[in-house]
Amino acid sequence: MKQCKDLKIVAVEHPNDGYVLLKLTDAEQLPAIHAGQFVEIKVENSPQTFLRRPISVNFVDENRNELWLLIQVVGEGTRHLANLQLGDTLNVLFPLGNGFSQGVAGDKVLLIGGGVGIAPLLEYAKQLKQVGATPYLLLGGRSANNLLQLDIFRQFGEVYVTTEDGSMGEKGFVTNSSILQLFNSSTSPHRGGNAQRAEGVSFSRISCCGPKPMMMAVAKWAKEHQVKCEVSLENLMACGLGACLCCVEKTVKGNVCVCKEGPVFDIEELTWS
């Protein structure tokens, strides 16, 4: 059930200049949250920020009844969020959207994140591990200091890193990563045939969140290699509830609301070329 309430800020961390990690809690038990779902935050005392701001659920700490949000400062609204203090409250409408595919035991899922798009993948990696699936993490950033929460990611699966400037992991974009090359070499030149794939790495699915050009490149790679792939979109939103029809994405079924039918879509549903 969706709710709209004030959550209490129990930690404000600044992993680097451009990001803030907010940890929120409530006197009541937080509702069940599915990885990839998001919240709509009301930004108080910021006259320039009229509408709520959509932010993915980064992590849920069930033991501490905490919900984490990892936010990159890009404008006025996120700047205000970065200035919040311990003990402040945040009015949050949540949980919204559908989230990533539910994993099953034995699944090998490659999670690819770019920039702040890594945020929802942390909770997803946790949920996949909980059901007995194996998450592999491929995280890309401009440079080493954009790559956050790596230690926590490592608790849930193998982590591969690319940076554009080569300051950490492999140099280049996520699509240049050796984990993909490994997959590549094991399947080509004759594609198909699971036995062949098993020699390298084979994935049941790729789940991806990041800047649109990155997601498009990953989607293209997945199509070429016949791997199922889902992406999490960040269309501009007004209501977050499927009521205003502002956030639509063109799909094979026509225009659909990203906030309600998504934000995660199978690339086969999208009309990306």
């Binding site: 059930m1 969706k2 709710q3 709209c4 009301k42 006259p47 320039q48 009229f50 509408l51 709520r52 409408l93 269309n235 501009l236 939103m237 007004a238 209501c239 977050g240 509830l241 499927g242 009521a243 205003c244 029809l245 502002c246 956030c247 639509v248 994405e249 063109k250 026509g254 225009n255 309600k260």
Partner: protein, 301 residues
Amino acid sequence: MADIRTTIAGLQMVNPVMTASGTFGYGLEFADLVDLSQIGGIIMKGTTLNPREGNDYPRMAETACGMLNCVGLQNKGVDYFCGHIYPQVKDIPSNMIVNVSGSSPEDYAACAARINELDKIPAIELNISCPNVKQGGMAFGVTTEGASQVVRAVREAYDKTLIVKLSPNVTSIADIARSVEDAGADAVSLINTLMGMAIDIEKRKPRLSINTGGLSGPAVKPVAVRCVWQVAKAVKIPVIGLGGIMNAEDAIEFFMAGASAIEIGTGNFIDPAISVKVAQGISDWLDRHHYESIHDIVGII
């Protein structure tokens, strides 16, 4: 406690607060978040005779104290509404009102005739003021001839409460209001969005896919209050006021300007329970100022 029950052209409402078309879905989207029985009326999404895909993304741009939209009446058509949505909304304990749009008087009338058959829909709101579709929509709402032509056609096909929603994008909104009153409207609601535009200067491109869109939110409130005041002086039928209402004080302004009821649109995006809070706030304000009924302040300016 002050009496805020209201009757508008035969529609009995628990309070004078309704939710505006295009901002509250079919009500269902908000069911977890607000007690729908405590809303005077729910005006559902714009519905047309045939399905419409709406405009391309981006359809929304946030602006100072408001937003622009160019959704363009995306909906699955009146048949889908009757077959699939009506069964889900017919038992919602509020006045469930359909907002009807079209591109010719015949379209409007045919759509209204279908809705007329639905027992649990006590009223329609005729949208002759949508700025976001190429043909029709606002084209009818900006001339007295166009407006009365559509209203006359619908009046023949529809015998329940007929509300006509007016555009502020006109020279004299009072003239348009008089013409729809003469053509048989039972009430008028105003304002629809104000035509606007915003440009992304870095991309050197308009921020909306079709360049222009409708402005809503607190930015339009003074224009809306002025329109309501002018129209309330010009017609005898009830006036429903909307445009930028975010709290009870805003609503009171509209009542004083001559509105008998109000609608809340964009405010639902900021607080999904705003309608019920505003209704409570109106009642509290009346109590604090020793009014017994909402009617005591309607049109006092």
